[in-house]
Symmetry: C2
Subunit: 392 residues, 2 copies
């Protein structure tokens, strides 16, 4: 159908569901996804039949479980024969599922949509996972030559630290803060606090990044149910998505214009902010992609929470804690909450929703009205940003 723009986008969040993140031995890929789906339906208080369309993010099941075609699986789980599509954009797959769900509602083809992300990563060896994840980079230019993701982000960290004088112990503060939050999040993989020394003294993975700079390998799933503004209002939804930004960049670091920033992240943020009619000043909190500690530094700068090269100040002044001026990763981030790749983008959306609903428990951000999520694929080949608003 043809349509005309009336005002900025508003898509309601009517249900959220998330599994425990971690090494989940008692559930396979299908059961993990189903678990999150049922929790979301329960939260939304709707019947599965009310869902018009499903989008599911998944990255490595083809390699880790021999299972592709996850779209059909997601529908079958709920005994539905509705339109259901798998989307993949490496570690940003979850946000892409969310974005396609929004598009389905905006296009008028669906009124209620389920967007999910699922990843089962602990059934194969660490070497196999590392190889599978390298599919997010440039196989010909990077993977074939032996680069892995810790190595790619170590190159970014080295370039940034040299250019802006970021100190090693300040970089470590990212992980310390995220573990502090994880310790206050019941669904996080690691619910223990750490210190700067923990980070500095842990095993070197790729200089300068140590084990505690790196997000872990994780099983998990997350589902979110969206509805058109009209339906969401009728159902009493408190939280609405008002901006969605997506941008891409070269797969390989070698072809980037700069190693000091992720242009896809900057472009996605600007696009989402513009659509939502906000600026960085309006952001109450952010859930960002800290696959490695340095990635959070790039994220807060891409989101405009700090100027280029100046993110360190946020960490030395402890502003990114849940009770600080600019809370970042109250879920514990990828570092402490865990990083079941394609589930991460949906988890970020769920954390944003929980914070805006006032369900943040011991990590609740007081007076939060606007949250943003920032999800990255690969070393920045894809970035997807969403803006969440409390409207009640």
């Amino acid at each position: 159908m043809r349509m005309k723009r009336v005002d900025i986008m508003k898509v309601g969040v009517i249900g959220i569901g998330i599994t425990k993140f971690g090494e989940i031995w008692e559930q396979g890929l299908r059961e993990l996804l189903l678990d999150a789906q049922l929790r979301a339906l329960n939260d939304a208080k709707i019947d599965a039949k009310q869902i018009d369309s499903l989008f599911t993010g998944n990255m490595i099941a083809g390699l880790a479980s021999g299972q592709l075609h996850i779209g059909a699986m997601a529908a079958e789980n709920l005994n539905l024969n509705k339109p259901s599509v798998r989307v993949e954009g490496a570690c940003a797959s979850g946000s892409l599922a969310l974005r396609q769900g929004i598009a389905a509602i905006e296009s008028g083809s669906a009124d209620i949509v389920m967007a999910s992300g699922v990843e089962k990563m602990t059934d194969i060896s660490t070497e196999q996972v590392t190889t599978a994840l390298m599919g997010a980079g440039d196989e010909e230019l990077e993977g074939f030559n032996g680069l892995t993701f810790p190595g790619l982000y170590a190159l970014l960290a080295s370039a940034y630290m040299k250019e802006y004088g970021l100190k090693r112990e300040v970089l470590a503060e990212v992980s310390v803060k995220n573990h502090f939050h994880g310790a206050r999040n019941p669904y996080a993989q690691y619910q223990s606090e750490i210190t700067v020394d923990t980070v500095l003294n842990s095993t070197m993975v790729a200089d300068p990044l140590t084990l505690f700079d790196c997000s872990p390998i994780t099983d998990g799933a997350a589902s979110i149910i969206l509805a058109s503004e009209k339906t969401a209002k009728k159902m009493g939804a408190e939280v609405y998505i008002t901006g969605s930004g997506l941008a891409t960049d070269t797969l390989s670091l070698a072809r980037r214009k700069s190693l000091l920033r992720l242009d896809a992240g900057i472009n996605a943020a600007q696009s989402a902010y513009k659509q939502a009619g906000i600026t960085a000043k309006d952001v109450s909190f952010a859930e960002v992609h800290d696959c490695f500690s340095i990635a959070e530094i790039y994220a807060v700068e891409a989101l405009g929470l700090a100027k280029q090269g100046e993110a360190a100040q946020l960490y030395t002044s402890k502003q990114t804690y849940f009770d600080g001026k600019k809370p970042v990763n109250t879920s514990g981030g990828l570092k402490a909450c865990g990083h079941p790749v394609a589930a991460t983008g949906i988890k970020q959306a769920i954390e944003a929703t929980m914070q805006l609903r006032g369900e943040g428990g011991k990590r609740q951000v007081k007076g939060a009205t606007t949250g943003v999520t920032y999800n990255v694929g690969g070393s920045g080949g894809t970035a997807c940003v969403h803006v969440f608003k409390k409207m009640k």
Copy 2:
């Protein structure tokens, strides 16, 4: 934004590009995709910068090339940093990319979209391809127990032949007709005619299906450029997509209600016809998913070109040839044109566009006004149908 429905959907096809299908040794995954993308841009006579959004279907590159994150690659190929997403629904991945492209235009987030499909399948062994393709089925119920796709479709063929008395030599007519068309299609993998005896006397793959009942392993890529009705009209487009239907079913055959039909195909067709405001009688020709000969029988029945159990008549009376009453697979189908999995759905759309533009050459359907494409994932876990109309 909010929008209101004005009338049925009309999205214009402003450019098409397809590589030669076959064993393409001189191009890798990236180059194949780029080749199709550039051909489509050339056909549309637009600059890459005019593209607002990209959707790319791919199924097995993670397994065959170690490369995921194809969305970013598709944008990088054209030096774009625009939104770009990979979608996967097994062998229906191409149609899903097309459908998501339509949704992007209908949602108002894009005016011009590129939808592509690419698959590089000949770089690994036949055994590895067969295993990778099995990701389209139910890994736990089917793949783990040794079933492969020839086996799954052999089960369907056996059930159908027993129930409806379909004769072996009539089933072979599907491949004979598709090779006849392939011999008249310059981009087809196999451009040679065969006889019923060729099919009956070829190597048994999975009883009753022989080698010539099975589509081949193929490299290839295809791209299509879509635009909003307004922009497409301005650019003089002749062909418009007026219906898009997508439905799912269980991954495994064991959980289906019947083995005699593909319910996802029936539901997708009805949904697309309804949106386009047509019935089966309006269909001038169909491009359908003949991954195995029996699949075309199910397809023509799902599309309503024959009643359930009566498709044989279409083949004994030779009606499905390009100059018959109900032309099917004028491209040569998956059998003769080749089946680079995720490229197939886009190839079907390109063949439909060529026929409606009158560019069908030696296989041109005379007076064609309405074409449908029917693309299946797995053994029917996903089915996606599109309706194409000539409007000039």
